[in-house]
């Protein structure tokens, strides 16, 4: 909403410069976002919150200025009570008003003005309209706009001779009813649109825009001046359907003062008489302001309790009176407040408390600190997430945040679609926001691709975020995604080491996470087609995969392997950080013996270790991979492996001699069962 310094001065005495006024308005809730000197005037651009339609007018802002600055209101008629609206038909008037449903339109006033001289507007009107961003059309249209800005009541002038004589009706549009509006658009209306119709057809979309065919032009002689009140919800729906927001619809959907139509109609008629030589031929009307007076009782004790500052009845009363409320003392410390018609936002005591606090000044309310009762039983989940994140960062991964909304095509092209249909969005702005992602792989894959294109040699990323699934109800689950690509290089004592990303790197990272969370009972299971599934206590909790050709092509990744894992965290949370009991340290040292051998590639190490453990006797406590290698000395299809076996006893220090039989047994079993060559 724009207004000007001089225009405000028509209605209120202002003794402070524009800059200071702008600051005061801002601090009272009318945020001045822009103040500009234009000629001898200043334009204020004010952001009006949707609860205050009364501020969508110069007079309404003037009332606020008076309350804040203590300046006197001027030009009383604009603020005066409306006159009684005359009956529905006036003798000698050629028009009658009909309202199909009072709920759609509580008031409709049709004033007839004859012998209007249509021409350009006087300079002062042109200038003010221009300053608030409204183009001058002709004196009649300009006067309706001028009064709209002044009073907040949208008016419309029809060329009376272009209306079919007899009756103006406010009704719902017929299905597909056609109307050419003044913006030149041919509209096909729906019954959700409210229209103004003459006896033949719709002539305006009520509260939104007039029709082209009944528009006032330089040939117009007689006019019908509309001042009405329309249902905010219907106007909102109507303009949404038409895709047109106008100064009129903007005000009607926020709620116009029910007393405004009569005043505005009278004010416009006066201007039309003064500036266009029009004769006021009387007004046909339907409906009435018909509004029950709203009163709210305000306990000043409650006021002080809510604000944290002590304000008495006198102070509260003074502020409310300044804002146009009527106030009586109802009981000790209780004010009975009568809400004026232009303040339909005020319904209960807190609404008055805000008014009082606003004018009193938020800055004058002191700062205090409340006593807080801490809640001990929240946050464990967040702490685990934080532990995981910090560990991953320590392991060299950087945290990514990728979009939860993705394009269906992206998922399809990369072959990353879920088995069930993804959750889709009804009203995406673009294809990139079509569906909620079923997994983290696409987003991470894209981030990897982006970074490889920036010539990063190694891309280690992770994300912890929700993924989504359709079901009876939409499901969202927290997941950890990790993506590795490229070759990590770092210094060792021997110089630079190059270490290309692989499945085992992903596995190692996950093992570190599990170990940090003291998780046990997890398993990695090989599946065909470059996929590994991860189980926790026999429940599948995630998978690891190497992106295939299709995905790499879709992501435009060339000459790089990409490894991604996804892990659902709910199950992890429920098993993480169990209460631990200390296990006493071994009293007697154990003995480690290594076995080196060559093993066929297709035999899994896990099965070898499990077998040795089973057959190594009671002293064998642990079997671990000590080293592995492939190379010149090892025949193709085989790999060299060193396992280290740890023998210990809880009762005594073992001797080499004692474990030899067990160890021999293990070795012998190994060569028999897996046909390995011991080295």
């Amino acid at each position: 909403m724009k207004t000007t310094y001089q225009w405000l001065k028509d209605f209120v005495e202002i003794k402070i410069p524009p800059e200071e006024l702008a600051d005061k308005l801002t601090m009272a809730g009318l945020e001045v976002v822009f103040l500009e000197k234009k000629g001898d005037d200043f334009v204020f651009e004010i952001e009006i919150t949707s609860n205050r339609p009364d501020w969508l007018s110069v007079s309404g802002i003037a009332r606020e200025v008076a309350a804040i600055t203590g300046g006197k209101l001027k030009n009383a008629p604009v603020f005066s009570a409306p006159r009684k609206i005359p009956g529905r038909k006036i003798a000698g008037l050629s028009i009658e008003v009909g309202i199909e449903d009072k709920k759609d339109c509580p008031i409709y006033l049709a004033r007839i003005l004859r012998n209007v001289k249509v021409g350009p507007s006087p300079e002062w009107i042109k200038k003010r309209l221009e300053l608030v961003g409204c183009r001058s059309i002709n004196n009649v249209v300009d006067i309706t706009n001028y009064v709209l800005f002044e009073s907040g009541e949208p008016l419309h002038a029809f060329d009376l001779d272009k209306l079919a004589s007899g009756k103006i009706t406010v009704r719902r549009a017929k299905d597909k009813e056609k109307l050419l509006t003044i913006d030149g658009a041919e509209n096909s209306l729906l019954p959700e649109n409210l229209v103004i119709a003459d006896s033949n057809r719709a002539v305006a979309v009520a509260g939104v825009m007039g029709g082209k065919e009944s528009e006032v032009d330089f040939g117009t002689k007689h006019i019908l001046l509309e001042a009405a009140l329309f249902n905010p919800v219907i106007i909102r729906r109507s303009r949404q359907l038409l895709g047109k927001t106008t100064e009129a619809s903007y005000r009607f959907e926020r709620g116009v003062d029910p007393e405004a139509p009569e005043r505005a109609s009278r004010r416009a008629a006066q201007l039309l008489k003064d500036l266009c030589g029009a004769e006021d031929a009387g007004m046909a009307a339907r409906g009435s302001a018909g509004r029950k007076t709203v009163t709210v009782d305000l306990d000043t004790g409650y006021l002080s309790r809510i604000l944290g500052v002590c304000l008495g009845c006198a102070q509260a009363k003074k502020i409310l009176l300044g804002l146009g409320f009527k106030v009586k003392l109802k009981a000790k410390n209780v004010l009975r407040v009568e809400v004026p018609s232009f303040r339909q936002d005020v319904k209960q005591p807190v609404d008055l408390i805000e008014e009082i606090a606003r004018i009193y000044g938020y800055e004058k309310i002191p700062n205090s600190l409340p006593l807080i009762t801490p809640d001990p039983d929240t946050g464990s989940r967040r702490e685990i997430i934080s532990e995981i994140k910090n560990l991953l960062v320590g392991l060299g991964l950087s945290e990514a945040i990728t979009y939860s909304l993705v394009d269906r095509k992206g998922l399809k092209d990369a072959g990353l679609e879920s088995e069930t249909a993804p959750l889709s969005v009804m009203n995406p702005l673009s294809r990139e926001q079509e569906v909620l992602r079923p997994g983290l792989a696409l987003g991470l894959g894209r981030a990897v691709s982006f970074n490889l294109k920036q010539k990063q040699e190694y891309v280690p990323l992770f994300e912890i975020a929700n993924v989504f699934k359709s079901g009876k109800e939409p499901e969202e689950k927290l997941a950890l995604g990790i993506a590795l690509s490229g070759t990590k290089s770092f210094f060792s004592g021997e110089g630079r080491v190059h270490d290309p990303a692989s499945f085992l790197h992903l596995k190692g990272i996950l093992e570190a996470v599990f170990s940090k969370l003291k998780l046990t009972g997890y398993e990695f299971v090989n599946l065909p087609a470059g996929r590994v599934e991860i189980f926790l206590h026999k429940n599948k909790i995630g998978s690891m995969l190497e992106l295939g050709r299709q995905a790499l092509d879709a992501l435009e990744i060339k000459n790089h392997k990409v490894f991604i894992c996804e892990l659902f965290l709910e199950k992890v949370f429920s098993c993480a950080l169990p209460d631990k009991k200390f296990i006493s340290l071994p009293k007697y040292p154990g003995i480690t013996r290594d076995i080196s051998f060559v093993l066929k590639e297709e035999v899994s190490v896990e099965s070898v270790i499990a077998s040795i453990k089973e057959n190594g006797g009671s002293l064998l406590r642990e079997v671990k991979v000590a080293d592995y290698y492939r190379g010149k000395q090892i025949p193709a299809g085989f790999r060299g492996l060193t396992l280290s076996c740890f023998y210990a006893s809880a009762e005594r220090t073992l001797t080499e001699k004692e474990i030899q039989p067990s160890h021999d047994l293990a070795c012998e079993f190994l060569s028999r069962r897996f046909e390995v060559k011991l080295r």
Binding site: S50, G308, A357, R381, G396, L397, L423, S424, G493
Partner: protein
């Protein structure tokens, strides 16, 4: 020459020594058969009898001092040799460690903010991103057919009745108050969604942190005190704050909160639009209608709520000028935090 000046001369000579060979030369000069000490000793018979004893003691002390000095020098030469040998350290070489990763700047800011509130006694909770229309709007006193909805353009889900992607973190207020009874003090960080076209300052996905405190006797001045504590912790002790009246359907009275511009300090610059102030959050006293929806007795309890955009605060704090950088995941960007 007297013995004191000889002392000084020895030190001077030794300082110039950088090899065992040179040290030997100096040693011979002083302790050799025809060296200085021998010369001094040889001069004793020519000294008057009454001074002879004193002079002899001085020569002896000088001599043993020399032995000590030479031994020390020899040690230090050996140390130096070790350094020049195979154990030499060039500390200018890169340290041996693997690269450490980084937390996303939005995570860092979120954690920082949540921990400020934690220290004040707030707990941290979370809520779902797929929400009901009720929790996102109606329960928060936002009527469905009202212009106040305009500020909350929302993604709705297909195939589900009245399910949407939350357009703010405020629905968490409704959930928390349905589940728990006062006293409550909670902050809720999370992702939110609005159908906005993406540009340098808009994103269809972003992050907010919601705060809610409900109890007996909670007042507007408490809101001011808590938020001031927060702002000073995040932006520094010197920050100024102002509370401007505003409208939010779920709070009454409502306030928008500005801090003095952290770029220009309040003088006015391009970041603050020459106003000297930066809007950082919305807040207010919980509306009685919201309490009514969750069956909390508004006569007994009162509360405040606030909400802030994490991207906005991160952009201000780190001087980031394009919101898209947060979601591009460029390692060159991520590794700066």
């Amino acid at each position: 020459m007297d013995i004191d000046s000889l002392q000084a001369q020895v030190k001077n000579d030794l300082e110039k020594v950088s090899s065992p060979e040179a040290l030997e030369e100096v040693r011979v000069k002083y302790l050799g058969r025809k060296g200085v000490v021998a010369e001094l000793t040889g001069s004793i018979p020519g000294i008057p009898v009454q001074e002879r004893g004193e002079f002899g003691r001085k020569v002896n002390a000088f001599k043993s001092g020399l032995h000590e000095l030479f031994a020390k020098k020899e040690e230090s030469l050996k140390d130096g040799e070790a350094l020049r040998g195979e154990n030499i350290i060039d500390i200018g070489m890169p340290g041996i460690a693997q690269q450490v990763g980084t937390l996303h700047p939005l995570t860092r800011i979120t954690d920082e903010i949540c921990s400020v509130f934690s220290r004040m006694g707030f707990s941290v909770a979370e809520g779902p991103e797929v929400e009901t229309e009720y929790n996102n709007f109606t329960g928060l006193n936002i009527p469905l057919e009202h212009p106040s909805r305009e500020a909350f353009d929302t993604f709705y889900l297909k195939d589900y009745d009245k399910k949407l992607l939350r357009s703010h973190t405020s629905p968490a207020q409704v959930r928390i108050m349905q589940e728990k009874k006062p006293p409550l003090a909670v902050v809720v960080p999370g992702r939110v969604y609005r159908p906005d076209a993406v540009d340098a300052s808009h994103s269809f996905m972003f992050h907010q942190i919601e705060g809610l405190m409900v109890g007996e006797g909670i007042k507007f001045s408490d809101l001011k005190g808590v938020l001031e504590t927060f702002a000073k912790a995040i932006f520094g002790e010197g920050i100024k704050m102002r509370f401007r009246p505003h409208f939010f359907p779920f709070t009454e009275p409502s306030a928008e909160v500005d801090i003095s511009c952290i770029i220009c300090g309040g003088k006015g610059c391009s970041v603050c639009g020459r106003k000297g102030w930066l809007e950082i959050l919305g807040s207010g006293m919980v509306h009685p209608n919201v309490f009514k929806h969750v069956a909390i007795d508004a006569d007994k309890y009162s509360g405040f709520a606030f909400g802030m955009g994490v991207e906005r605060i991160a952009m201000l704090k780190y001087g980031i000028n394009d919101i898209r950088l947060f979601f591009e995941n460029d390692l060159r960007f991520l590794r700066q935090f």
